[in-house]
Assembly symmetry: C2
Homo-oligomer: 249 residues x 2
C-alpha cells in the first residue's frame, strides 16, 4: 500500500508547482545565490520527498523560465546576468546585416526625482515615491545610436550612486542583480516612431525632427514586480530593433 496518493497534494496544487515555488523561495531568501550550483536532482528528491520525474518537471519549467541553468555533468545553477546568453536577451538593437555587438555606454545625467503619474502607474508606486533618473548614451561602431532615460524606484535601489553607475564594469541588469538583489526576468516593450527633440538630436548627431524609434520598456522581476522604467531613443539609419515571435503553447 502506497503512503501518498498521486495526483493532487493536500494543498490543492500539483506537486511540481509546489516544488517550483519552494525552489524560487530558496533563491529569493538567499539560500542559493545567482551563479551558484543548487543540490543535485537526487538530493532535491529527498529534500522535497518527491520522485525524480517530479523534480525534473519543476526544474525543466524553471530552466525554461530563465531562473535556472542546467549543465549536463556539472549541475544546475541559479541564473545570473553575466552570461553571454543574457547580453542580447534584452538588448534588441542590431546592425542591419544582423551583426550583434555590445555597446559602449556613457552616463550623461544622474538625479533623484519625484515619480510622475505615468511612472507611478507603470512601476506600481505609491504617491510621493521618488525615483533615480539617469540618461545613458550608447555607441555602436563608434557612433551614437541609442539614448536611454532610465527610472528606478528609490525604494529598491536605495544605495545607488552616480559613481556606481559610472564605474560599473558589467551590464546594467548584472549590476541590479549583484548590487541590489534585483533580478530582471522579463521585459515588456512598446515601440513608437517619433521626431527627434533638441536633446536627443544633439546626443545622436541628427537634425531636430528626424525620425527616431522610441522604446518604452518595463522590466519585471520575480512575481511580475516592475523594477525599471526605461525610455530608449534609437537611431535606425544603420541599426535596427529586432523582435522574434514563435507560435507557442
Amino acid at each position: 500500500m502506497v503512503e501518498r496518493l498521486v495526483g493532487l497534494n493536500p494543498s490543492g496544487a500539483p506537486l511540481y508547482k509546489e516544488v517550483k515555488r519552494k525552489i524560487i523561495e530558496s533563491i529569493r531568501n538567499g539560500e542559493w545565490k545567482p551563479g551558484e550550483v543548487i543540490p543535485s536532482e537526487k538530493k532535491l528528491c529527498e529534500r522535497f520527498a518527491v520522485s525524480m520525474g517530479t523534480i525534473r518537471k519543476a526544474v525543466d519549467d524553471l530552466s525554461g523560465e530563465g531562473f535556472l541553468i542546467r549543465h549536463q555533468g556539472r549541475g544546475t545553477f541559479v541564473a545570473t546576468h553575466n552570461q553571454d546568453r543574457y547580453l542580447f536577451t534584452f538588448f534588441h538593437v542590431v546592425r542591419q546585416d544582423g551583426h550583434k555587438e555590445y555597446p559602449k555606454v556613457e552616463l550623461m545625467e544622474f538625479s533623484k526625482v519625484k515619480a510622475d503619474p505615468v511612472a507611478m502607474s507603470m512601476l506600481h508606486l505609491d504617491p510621493g515615491s521618488r525615483l533615480f533618473r539617469f540618461v545613458n548614451k550608447l555607441e555602436l561602431g563608434r557612433n551614437p545610436v541609442v539614448v536611454d532615460e532610465i527610472l528606478l524606484p528609490e525604494q529598491l535601489f536605495s544605495r545607488l550612486t552616480e559613481r556606481t553607475l559610472r564605474e560599473r564594469s558589467a551590464t546594467l541588469y548584472q549590476l541590479y542583480q549583484e548590487g541590489f538583489g534585483v533580478t530582471v526576468v522579463r521585459t515588456q516593450e512598446r515601440v513608437r516612431a517619433v521626431s527627434a527633440d533638441a536633446l536627443r538630436a544633439r546626443l545622436l548627431g541628427v537634425k531636430v525632427g528626424d525620425p527616431l524609434l522610441q522604446v518604452i520598456r518595463i522590466a519585471f522581476s520575480f512575481k511580475d514586480q516592475p523594477v525599471e522604467l526605461r525610455y530608449s531613443y534609437v537611431l535606425t539609419h544603420t541599426y535596427e530593433y529586432c523582435s522574434d515571435s514563435m507560435a507557442a503553447s
Copy 2:
C-alpha cells in the same frame, strides 16, 4: 532481460526526438490535418513502441513549439491559425492603453513582380523567381493605422488570385494554411523609424515626412523555410508596436 536498452536508439538521436520528427512528418504528409485530433497518447505509445513518458516529452515539446494543442479530456490537436490565441501572436500593434482589437483590412494593390535581390536573399529564392505583391491598408478604431506591402513566392502560392485575397474571411495566415498548406510557425521582425513617403502619407492620412514605424517581417514555416516577406508601415500616434522578452533557457 529487457529488449531495447534505454539512452540512445540505433539512429543516434534521442527517442523522443525521433518521435517528434515522425509526428511532424505525419502532419506534413497530411495524415493528420490542422484542426484534427491525433491519436491518444496511449495509441502513440503502441505506434512508436515507446513508453508514455517519451510520448509526453515529444508532445510537450511540439505543443511548446506550437505544432500541437492539448485539451485535457478531449485529445491532442494539430494547431490551426483560426484560434483566438493566434490572432495576436504575430500582430503586434496595440492601442496605447494596451487594448487589442482586430483590424479591418482593405486590399489596395495586387500584382505579380520579379523578385529583387533583397527579396531573393530574404526568401532564399533562385534568380528570376517571381513574387505575388499586394498592399493592404489596416484600420483600427475606424482610422488607418497600418499599410502592409506583402511579398509571397509564386512557387508556394501558385493559385493565389486578387479575388481570393479580397474575399477571404479569415486571417491571412489562416488563408496560407487552409488554402495553400503553408503554416507559419515563426516570424522575425526588424523595426526602424522612417519618414512617410507620398504613398504611405496619403494612405495613412499624415504629412509627408512624418515619422512612421517600418516593420520588416520574414515569416517562416516548418524547418525555417521563409514563406513571406512583409513591409509594414505603422502610424504610432495612438497605437504602438508591442514586444515582450523573457529570460529563457
